[in-house]
Symmetry: D2
Subunit: 382 residues, 4 copies
């Protein structure tokens, strides 16, 4: 049976997201957005002093600032006012063990993406999650929480673009801080992302490619069946994947392309998908997230705006009236908000936040890409 | 001497923004954004039960949910844990009296726009604010808090577009809910906005035109000198200004146009400014707020992106890395955040949040428009 | 009775558009576009040698290159193979006398805009045109010939946006070549445009404001009733209008704003209109001319594309399949093409090219602006 | 020695582009654009009457309207006023034999793309062209003739984006006229494009993919080294390639992706390239062809506009001042114009129009794609 949430505000603990972390900042604002959570505990560093100092700064009792997640899980689990949810925002390869520890203590999980560092970990974690009926799990593939992405998902479900025939998705960034990466400066510029033990199977695929594959499946309703992947290293001496292009055959025989890069120079930054069906197509870009371009087979192109008159779904996941822009944080907070709602109710409802099934699928995709790239051949996702 | 802020979180009281209010929702999220405020008290309705029920729902002790602002000010002022800041989000004509009451109790003010309902009130309130050295005042002309609007302001100050010669600003919305407004349905559709006693001098100018004039002056660094205004009523029977077009002569001899409307049909919604100088021009639109278009006199158009490499100012007012969009709430929260910073420090620093001087100027502008419209002649702003 | 066109290609003469002329180039390409005209005669300079040299270069017999329009009209009129149409592309104040001369010779007229230099000339020319049933007249307000502008016109006619309530039109350019214009350099930079005898009533209004007013009326189907205009001089010493802002009351009680400038620094160049009705609104911008944004009162924004499935009218005035862009020349050539069609047929059809009625209206508007600016008062268009 | 052009206007013959042809219309307007050519002869149908009727309609003597290209070549070659250039706009597989016949008669060639139907033909034609020093050859990969595409080419050459690392190009259309293509309707909808004998190696790659590959190489200055291609049939029963996705390794070790489709539903139409180098990136889209987005490694994104102050190259290939749009025809005509210039001069100059080298390369690429798709393996371009 699901553990009950006791008070108005859900007691939230945090693992990761310390002083220099960007994503820590994002999670904390998102948890505050709708006044559903109270951050009461955390591990912000392996150094106990740093963890306590930072924790204090953000308003946490120093007794509940820990230097390792095991201690946190053990101690919080036995407090009468212990945390009910933990948000994990450490690097990929640690997601599994941390999540498992809290699952053992019946604490719900919000985990940053990717699901885990590799497929082996993913299978273990998935099994663990399914083994404990007391806990719920959410994965912050946050782009899927933009109102118009969810509007797109439902529009495809309703058959508005017909049978999906082609999916084009890309997520391109530039991580190089304006420099040519070489052996000497790689560690300074790219940090733990060049350490496979930390980043997992593939830097570019785990860090941002996972978002691209997730959103493609999330909106199209499809799963990949097999892939042909071509993954590039930064250079011969610096071992980190920095670009991946993947052809995908989907389970309904649709085809698709995924391109993800962390070396797309010049501030060209962006997540975008285009999905083509027998009756029309849709397009969405993160840099203009309040709009969904809908191209019916015949007739005028339509710009569906977040919260417009007929868009019930996008209204549900909006806070601000249409005409005013929402952004990245508003979408990220949608995951926190809906997860809270799911914890408070016993009702069977449809939830839109990404979950462990989606996490496992994405890990399978990345592993298939790794193998395909090595074999230079089409490879089954399994 | 300025009153000191005692703890980590600033104790915030709210007047207005009850159950059905959109702007109440906006203020509350904004106050939580950066964890600087704690909402501990409020008047959410003149009906005591409604006020308490709503207050409780958002986590406020029922003893601190009041049914009128006078009681709230009197009681909070004598509590040892009383509010330090009040946020006022009632209709325009009540801003002055409410603010004055709290000023008398040495409580800082964050007020929704416009400054007041009319110029008479504005002059009184301005005087009152200046009379009490213990308090600080912020006015939520929130659009001026977008990072790229502030980047624009500084860019103009630095002379990047030369001497300003022309300012074009517009804020257009559609308030009619898809209906033709007539005597019968006016009250249902437009509510208190058709009541001049509540909305003040002019519905369209007070409610959204004030934003347009404010942002034009904020960014250009200019003040209007005189105006020629043409204001339109909804219809002969329904007395509410729904469209205003204003020619402006600025204090440096620049000319300008302001257009604001609440009957711009078809979901065309938007705040936009374009400012032309002797060395170039800039353009910004609220629907794509992370970009500032900068057109130098010669050479390529530049798209300055929020948080990009050289934009120190826009970085200061951003939370999210460039490449990801921020929205309306992020900007609104910038006012709350910087106001908190201003309350915590004794240092002389430059603050970017709108203040009572800007409020008074905008009230003068609206009054001059009212007179010009009546006289059908150029009218001095005074 | 209308004069008949004898052969396949219409014999075209040209007055103006000599060696350094941009607009001459435009007219000549436009006349060739659809293989309907043959340029056989012209006045390209008052200097006979220059006229002949230039004429020869573009393939005209030197006997038919003249140094003044009177001689050209007289001689061409008596040739058995004389011109059937003359295209006039001299500065505004000469349009009337030149056109009248050719009208007397029963030669059809394609005239560059504006109709004439001032209202007095306009009234004379209009009367002259109406007095000769043998000739037809077209005025190259070329922007009205873009397919999607004509689609917009018909969409308004059909009531798709309901009763028009507001019209916003602007045409802004920068003529200063990146310089601050002063007494010394004015003549070099702005040429005959600072000479009122040549440019007519107002430089900015005659040269580009006339396009803005024309397109506003063309699409909305309205006429201005009275105006309040504010026109600016370049400087005290340089007498040329470089900026005009005009409030317009239309004949159906709609209101509107027109802004036109030749000092909008930074390459911001553009003609745009937005028309708001009781059932929706439309927007078109010259820089993306293949699209018409149509905002119905409720529901999604539609992007109507030139030549798309249901757009019969825009297909009629297109040459290239949708998906591929058309530009300025394609639109300009539409006037030449349809004028040829109108000359070849005796059938009563609706023609979309601008004519003398529209020319006269625009001249009245400009004169009313001049007077209003002087009087600083609302002024009737008459 | 190159054959001389005798008079002002170049005598042009046309093979193909008959009554129902769209591309015929395009070529004819393009040839007239700059008054350099005179169409004096043609084969517009294999039916002699149709050919003569159509030819007469467009102003050609009926004696010079032929029903087969051999007769045309033979007869025109011996006329004292015979054609100097032939423009070929028949389906792909006939390009080689037709061109060869005219080459034998020392007549210059403007050929529509692709170069030929397949690689075997391409090699033969290339050899033939190189064997006759008297003739020149231009291939209408027209998109490369947009001013800003040529500006992009030179910008890359000058090293403004550094060493090219990644090329992303796509050309997507919908040829299905809003229908689901099946065995029954395929021939009606897709015509000769489903006949491999006519369309050549691959419908989608020959008809539009060839443009995409050409423009990628044209601008980047690279050649493909090997490819991995995945080409899709319309259906099991209808044999026509309708979608191709190709990974490309370029000769400088850059990687790239090409996607081309004729089943991209909903009017999404477009050619676009993005090229990423070590110092920045560029982006261009055909639907907004007057702009080149240039993203330097650091600092603001620049929108380079056709004809702007510093863009000498784009000015050279423009006719209309910046601020006004040019379109598809203006670009197409650039090939005709520059080809005329190349025929009139003996000077050694750099020409920007596509030629036989580029044609051969594209044919090699398409053949490599065909083989790769069959082998499901990376395949060398040779």
């Amino acid at each position: 049976m699901m553990r009950l949430i006791k008070g108005k505000k859900i007691k939230l603990g945090i693992v990761g997201g310390g002083p220099k972390s960007w994503i820590g900042h994002v999670h904390r604002i998102s948890s505050r957005f709708d006044d559903e959570y109270e951050i009461v505990s955390g591990v912000f560093s392996r150094n106990s002093n740093i963890s306590k100092t930072f924790g204090k700064k953000i308003g946490i009792d120093k007794d509940r600032c820990y230097s390792n997640y095991q201690e946190m899980a053990d101690k919080e689990a036995i407090r009468f006012d212990g945390i009910e949810v933990v948000a994990i925002m450490t690097p990929p390869s640690s997601h599994q063990v941390i999540a498992e520890k809290f699952i053992d203590k019946n604490i719900h999980i919000i985990s940053d993406k990717p699901f885990t560092g590799d497929l082996l970990q993913a299978k273990k974690l998935f099994k663990k999650i399914k083994s404990n009926k007391n806990i719920k799990y959410a994965l912050t593939h946050n782009y899927s929480a933009y109102p118009m992405v969810r509007e797109a998902k439902v529009l495809v479900e309703k058959g508005k673009i017909g049978k999906v025939e082609y999916v084009n998705v890309e997520y391109v960034q530039d991580w190089t801080d304006g420099k040519i990466v070489n052996k000497k400066n790689a560690k300074k510029i790219l940090k733990w992302k060049i350490n496979k033990k930390i980043v997992g199977t593939s830097a570019v695929l785990n860090e941002i490619g996972s978002h691209a594959y997730h959103i493609a499946c999330y909106v199209s309703g499809l799963k990949g069946r097999n892939v042909f992947a071509d993954i590039k290293q930064v250079s011969k001496t610096v071992k980190m994947d920095n670009n991946a292009q993947v052809m995908i055959n989907f389970n309904n025989n649709a085809k698709g392309l995924l391109w993800t890069s962390v070396m797309a120079r010049g501030g060209v930054y962006g997540l975008r998908f285009r999905i083509f069906g027998t009756k029309g197509s849709i397009e969405w870009v993160q840099n203009d997230p309040g709009y969904l371009k809908f191209n019916p087979l015949k007739g005028a192109v339509k710009f569906l705006e977040r919260g417009f008159f007929n868009a019930e779904l996008s209204k549900k996941f909006s806070r601000i009236k249409f005409g005013h822009p929402e952004g990245y944080l508003d979408a990220f907070a949608n995951i926190y908000k809906e997860f809270a709602e799911s914890l408070r109710t016993k009702a069977k409802k449809r939830w839109f936040f990404p979950n462990e099934y989606e996490g496992l699928e994405t890990a399978k995709f990345i592993e298939a890409c790794r193998i395909s790239n090595k074999r230079k051949a089409w490879t089954k996702i399994k």
